[in-house]
Symmetry: none
């Protein structure tokens, strides 16, 4: 059993190693122009080896989203499990958490948002798709629980907390995509942080009694 476990761990390590390489390549070449061979070279492996760890290119791409979702969940749970129950402070912490996730890896996060509504999604193995669904669900539920508490404390307006979570998530992804877009098109400054700040402020005002 020990051996099998170690093997398992080693396999997982290799996967991570490949994903790290993939991220590095994406950052320099952009998603659409990155080939499997590029990634293999960066990972100092052969193209064929990549297919021992990922069923195909789409799965490799999608796997990147998993990591960031996992990170998101950790941060969100941390917010929920804290002592502080003051909704205002929790909202603040939520905002912080989400911005951290953005900063953790902007490129990958944007890729994940793209992934959300693309054909790619349909081509994934049921396992991977299931995992993504689970993680997404968990994230949203964790967020919802924050709102839930706020509603119960009569601090937030009486609205379905799940819907609130959907909206905050939409706001988050929308701001990042749009501000990134503006940055690219107009070669302008990065307003993600400040816009996110304002967006959260308005959102909070909007749900506060």
């Amino acid at each position: 059993m020990g051996i099998r476990e170690r093997k398992e761990r080693e396999k997982e390590r290799r996967r991570q190693q490949i994903m790290v390489a993939a991220k590095r390549v994406f950052s320099t070449k952009g998603f659409s122009k990155t080939t499997m061979e590029d990634i293999a070279k960066e990972a100092e492996l052969s193209p064929g080896t990549l297919y021992l760890y990922f069923k195909n290119k789409d799965e490799l791409y999608a796997s990147l989203s998993l990591r960031i979702l996992q990170y998101l969940i950790i941060r969100l749970e941390h917010v929920v499990n804290q002592e502080i129950k003051d909704p205002r402070k929790r909202m603040e912490a939520l905002k912080e958490a989400m911005y951290d996730v953005y900063e953790f890896d902007p490129m990958i996060l944007i890729n994940m948002f793209h992934l959300q509504s693309s054909d790619t999604l349909k081509n994934l193995t049921p396992e991977l798709l299931g995992e993504i669904k689970n993680l997404s669900k968990k994230s949203l539920e964790t967020m919802a629980s924050i709102f839930q508490d706020g509603v119960q404390e009569d601090y937030f307006i009486n609205k379905n907390p799940i819907v609130m979570a959907d909206i905050v998530w939409s706001l988050f992804s929308g701001v990042i995509l749009w501000e990134t877009s503006k940055k690219i098109i107009n070669n302008q400054k990065d307003y993600v942080k400040s816009t996110l700040e304002s967006a959260f402020e308005i959102f909070e005002r909007g749900i506060t009694k």
Copy 2:
């Protein structure tokens, strides 16, 4: 002169005809899997002909966004130019307008949101890119003017109207992408309308004094 005008009109009609065909193919095959030949076949033209009207595939793709942006602007300007000055009613009209734009062509709108933060954008002719930028700018400015009025009337909180416009646009795109994603992943009902409704409600509360 009449002849030249007619030719011009015919050329424009052809362009539209190709774009309509493109949309039809996209709807059935999805964006990434649609080839120029598919579109040509659907338009009952030869592949070469497509290139008489669009410089390349990316330009054809991007041109689709143009139409929807134009429609958006018309709807937004209509909101602004109406007699009604009551901010609440205007917000209601704004929401209606944006939802109409979504219903006008969901696929194309989603594609446009994807386009926003992709490499494709960099490969467009400066002319087309310029046009997209102009239309985007105009849309945002028109939205901003609504908030501007509301602020001046002391009905909305004192926040940069341009930032408000950015946020409402982000919210709009974010909700659509996320709800569509959920619909696809979970094979569930389409919650775009209801979530958009809630999102606008919260947003309005959030900016109202």
Copy 3:
């Protein structure tokens, strides 16, 4: 009859006009990258019209050679028909004539040399091919007659004058192609004239008793 003649002349003028345009485009874009549309645009005609005057692209290309061959013949006959019968002076005149032909239009001449041993030749209409053959033959014969005279006057060695003409023509084309090639590859000075000078000198020494 007058009318038909005029029509004929006008048709010929149009042909010339197209050929002039073609030459201009070749000079700027190079042969392989010039399209029929380029030529049409330069000639301020439509692509279709080109096909009223030339059967196809190859024929248009080949026709360019015709003009230069005609010019060559005129110059050669001038050399032969002059009063001077001194072989040395005639050789000098021959050299002058050939260099003039080169300077008349280097690009077209080089194209003609390429044409000589290419597949294109086989795709020409029999008429055009026949004309090229005739003009070539005439050129070579005219040259040969110069050598013939020199041989009869016992000034040149006793060798088949036709072969001498072939060799002088080979030398001419070979020097031009090779010196042009060196010029392009090494970005060096144009040595066509000086090398041609030396080549003729050696050739003359070689056939002089």
Copy 4:
């Protein structure tokens, strides 16, 4: 180390295999009409594989010239390194060598002469172009050394040996191109050998004191 060497050799063999196939196709279809797929089929490989060994079509074409230039150099150096120092005998050997090169592969040689003054040249990788330049230079220098010796021995006239080499190379290429052309146009006998013979004879007379 042995393994890497073997791989290297195998790679080189594949390259040769492709080049041989290419030559075969060229011989039957002519250069301009040969497609990469034709060559792939002849080599019993897939089109994609060709691109593992040659960067693009032009490079494959140009590579063919390399081999013949290498063969030329070997033959020329052999002439120079022989015991015989008698200029007349050396000229004879030079002629033999060049004719052998022609017979080694007429099609490829002609193609190389075409290549010399075409746009293709400019599109090659600097490495390949550099190699071609080096080999050309070496050939010409080796030839020049023969003339150099003859001049020093006071057997040849006092002319720049480099220029002499340029001229003999021009004569060689010119005769081959022109005689091949005549053969094709007039469906006549092949006079390359006899004309080359005469040409060398005249050239030698021309440079001999």
